[in-house]
Structures are given as C-alpha cells and as structure tokens.
Symmetry: C2
Amino acid sequence: MGIREVADMANVSVTTASRALNGTGRIAAGTRTRVKKVADELGYQPNEVARQLKEGMSSTLGVLVPDITNPFFPELVHGIQEVAEENGHVLLLAPTNGEPTGIAKALRQMHSRQVAGVVIVDDCLDDSALAKELDGLKYVALDRKLHLSQSTWVSSDHLGGAQMAAEHLIGLGHRRIVHIAGPQGIGVARERLAGFRQALELADIPLDDELVFYADFTEDAGYQAALGLLERDICFTAVFAVADLAAIGAMRAFDEHHLDVPKDISVVGFDDIHLASYVRPGLTTVKQQIAELGRVAAGLLLDSDPGTEGRSRTLPVEVVTRGTTARVRQSEVST
Amino acid sequence: MGIREVADMANVSVTTASRALNGTGRIAAGTRTRVKKVADELGYQPNEVARQLKEGMSSTLGVLVPDITNPFFPELVHGIQEVAEENGHVLLLAPTNGEPTGIAKALRQMHSRQVAGVVIVDDCLDDSALAKELDGLKYVALDRKLHLSQSTWVSSDHLGGAQMAAEHLIGLGHRRIVHIAGPQGIGVARERLAGFRQALELADIPLDDELVFYADFTEDAGYQAALGLLERDICFTAVFAVADLAAIGAMRAFDEHHLDVPKDISVVGFDDIHLASYVRPGLTTVKQQIAELGRVAAGLLLDSDPGTEGRSRTLPVEVVTRGTTARVRQSEVST
DNA sequence: TTGAAAGCGCTACCAC
DNA sequence: GTGGTAGCGCTTTCAA
C-alpha cells in the first residue's frame, strides 16, 4: 500500500499523487480531489519512514528522562505530548537512568533516528560533555541552565521557590528548619538549597549546617533522612524537603515515630506532583507548572521561527498551602 | 557522516563497510577491524531511518496508553522499556486518551512508522473494531483478553485478585462490604466486580446492589463515590476499590468525615502502584506485577520464535496487607 | 498542469 | 573476499 498504488488507481504519476496528497506545487483541483478520494478509499497511509529519509528529518520528538517511574516525569511527558500531538509529532522515549552512559546511548539513538528535537532532563554530565553529545541535535534542556551559546533551556524558578517555601515556614514562627537537600551535583538541588539559605539569612536566622541533610529526590531518601534526623537529638520544628517524594518519605518516618504533622512538625515539599494532594494531610509544597514546562519545551523545539535559538524560559512557581504546615508550638519538639 | 565516508576512509566499498559493521557475510578479519576502527574514529552512527526503510521494519516498539499520568502506566512503560532496551529497541509513545479516535490516530502513526510491534492498553473499542485498526501490526493487548484468533494478550488475574481481596475482608469479619467499581464497559472492571461477587457468594453473604458504586479508576472518582456513599445512610464496614487511586480518593473522603481507616472502615485497593505504600496508613491492596506485565508483553513482541502467535499469558496477583484493613468492630459504623 | 527520474543512506543480491 | 548496483517509498528538481 504505497503512493504507487494510489497513483495507479487514480491514473496519475506518483509525482502528481504526492503533490495532491501534500498540497504542494501546482495541480488541477479536480486531480487533487480525485487522488485524495482514491487514497481515502484505499486507506492509504504515507510511509513516514521513507518520508523521513527523504527529508532528513522525522516528525518525532525525543524525550530523555532519567526514570519514567518518578511521578514528576509522566506529568512532564504529558505536557510535551500535548503540543507534539497538535503538530502531528510523536514521542520517542528513552531512559537515561541518570547515568552518563545511559545519556550517551539514548542520545545516539535520537541522532540515528533523526528526531526533530530532543527534550532532555539530566544533570550528570557537565555542560561541555553534554554539549558534545548533543552536537547536531536541536534540543531543549529541562530544569537545567546550560551555559552554552545557542543553548536553550526551560526551568522553574527553583531558587525563588525554595526561598518562598522557607519564608512560609518562617512566617509561621519556625526557626529550627531542617532542609532535606538533594545531591549537590544536581543544579536544581543546589538552587533550592541556596534559596533556602537565602530566606534564613534574610530573616536573620543563623545557618546551622547540622540542619541540612543531603539525600535525593526519592521517597526512600526522604524516609532515611528523617530517620537519621530523629536519631540524633536534633531540635527542629519544620522540614523543607527538596522534593515532594522526599517530603512524603519523611512524613512516613515521622508517622512511625508517632510525631504528628503538622502539630509536632511542619513539612513543605517541592514540585506539587499529583501525589501531594492525595496524601493525608495534603502536602504543602512549591508548585511547579510541570505540564507547562513540557509544553513550553516542546513549543520551543517545534517553533521554527528563526532567531529563536538560544531562547530560554524560566517559569514561576508558587507555594500551595495544604495541611502539613502549621504555626509553631511554643513548646519545642524532639529533643 | 554516512557509511560512505567510512568506506572511503577505509578504502573499501560501502558493501564491505556495511558487512564489516554488521558482521554479515564473508569478510577478512583484518578488513573488518580496520573498518570498525575507522567508523569508531569518525564517530559513525548508522542512519536508522535508512536502515528501516530498507528492512521494512524499525527497531521501535509502539506503546499506546490512555494516559501516562496515571501512575499505573509509567510502571508498565518502565517494564517494557527494560526489555526493549536490552534488544536495542526504543519506545514510540502515543497517547490514546482512551477514545476511539485517539486509538485510531495513534495506531495509524505506528503503522506509518513501521514499528516492530505495539503494546496497547485500551478498552474502548470492541474486539472486531480493534482488530481492524490493528491489522498488519504485530501487537500485544494488555489487560484485555481479545477473543480473536492469532491475538496475543497479557493480563493479570483480575477476577482471582478481586476475589482474594474480598475474602481478605470477609476473613476479617466484614459482611457489609462496598465495592467501588470501574466502568462496566471495561473488561478488567467487570472481572474485578465478578471476583468480588464470587467471594461474597462463596461466603454466603447476600449480594446487595446498594453496595456497589460505579466510578472509574481515578482518585477523584473514588473520592466522589465515597462521598455519595456517606450521604446515603448506608451501613458498611469495608470498601474494596477497583483501583488504588480510587481507594486513596475514598480514604480522603473518609478522612474529611473524621472516619478512621482502618478503625472505622477497612479499605482495599487494586494494583499496588508505588503510591500505595507511600500513603499513611499504607494501603492494603492486590498487587499486580506491573513492570513484569510490561516485560512479558515486550518479550512476546520481540520474540521471533515461530509458533508463538496467539500465545497469551495471565500473571498471578497477591494481596499485600498493609495498614488499611482491620478486624471489624462489633459496633457497626455509619448508619 | 503533469511526469520521468534522481537520490535520501542503507543492505543484499549477484558477479568477479 | 570484495565491489557494483538495485531498490526500499517518498519528495522534488527539471523537462515536457
């Protein structure tokens, strides 16, 4: 079932059939409708692979995420998908496992499949290494500010968000605030820590390194961090976690130790994945517009406007207050 | 950067270069290593698109899910991805939105991109309509038992799982058990309802249609269903929900009405998505091997063994007991 | 307005 | 062992 059959059936050459189907070039209106009708009857579907080979470019967007299982990413993919679909594009999904070799492998795939563009979420390669792998691909980096000429990224305002989160807690009277931080090799984790610190400084609260725990973005990491926290007799009344998942893990640990959230301890997360509103009490968190991040990234990739190279966007965030934060009690907890 | 350059650089024909790179046909060992070395130095990546056109088939697996945002699907995709990756395949992801037109559109994409196979999760087309769309594609239907010759599906034991869930509740002394059911147009929802009923019959508990609420697999549906339940003065001590998300939604409603789970009401879900172990108390549920479902499906697709057509598999499930189920109290609740 | 033919990058058939 | 060449299905010059 190729364009050949359609052409034969309509008594025209493949050239004419192609033109009729794509609406390119001069063609008699009658011929066009006739060919289209035939194509329709035959249920003709153009072979996208052949077209790609000819055009040197496919109507496919590559999506590279470390782990589709982390609820943040499906929401992101959903956003990308929306605008991709509007433009007749489809998504090529490759896992990077957050490892350099994974990235390289996935990127090679994208290359050899001639995707129209790639949105990449990663932070394990440094700028120049990443740039090298990305060579020749149109791309948008997500949640990572690449310091390269011609590079495009879209990111939330992580620093501002973290600052707002901490300020929310401070406004509630908290002074001893723990930060469950992400790996400092990761840009967004660093930014969130910086925002956190900035808020404390602004409020004249002395920084206490004992109060920052380095973990990662997972539930288990948050759980372990909270456990560690509880073991040492650290005095604190609130926790700001680098990610919702980590916050939820911490809450699990508190629950097991019969500490009430928010009565004994206030908790704030970051991301506002759907999950944040499912848990009880609902998690107070910094809302990223996750799907929008994806939409913007895909839009940048598909937008063929010239002079759009090197554009980047940072999206605003806001804290959404749910049930895990409360005014600090006068009688401190956990000593 | 084509095979041409490699061939020139190594002073061989493209034929020889191709053979060296693919390890097909007779070739001198020396030549092979030389070509490979050159390819390596040049960073040659075969153009997968051209190869696809030639071979009439791509090393790509299509994945059609209704909504990547539902946590069940990323886990599934993860499983598919694992075996796809092992075989050098990549995933083409298309959303169906659970609508016939979405399915048709996505399937057409898969067709024209010549995917090696498709795993499809859907239940809004009847068997023959689906068969028509699937025509010419190698496919595995997931969580849906297609009654077609030559069709392949993989599914969990939904009926058995639901029965076990109900029996778990019955074993705890519950008699007035509500089932938040899924849309009866959906096979797995029907099977789960059937399993539920079967358990009651076996235990000589009269079926009470007042106790089954039709909702769907979402959190909100579960929430609304539970609200409806609470409004009418229905007497019940336990809820079995068609999906974890629905169970969690119901728990949210109970929480808002100051009903304690599991003290006042026991709750059982279905799926065992990660989320089930994140919520407090942990959700007792029927565990599907979600990633394994994906692995098996992908395996069936990539397995080129002859005579494997029409094979299908159903995977076992088990109930995992966490914190949302308890022995019924003598003093009933909510009347 | 239409058609013949080249060629996208690759593999595989056939000849040497 | 190696190389010329056809051809996958399509789009697009260039002629007619």
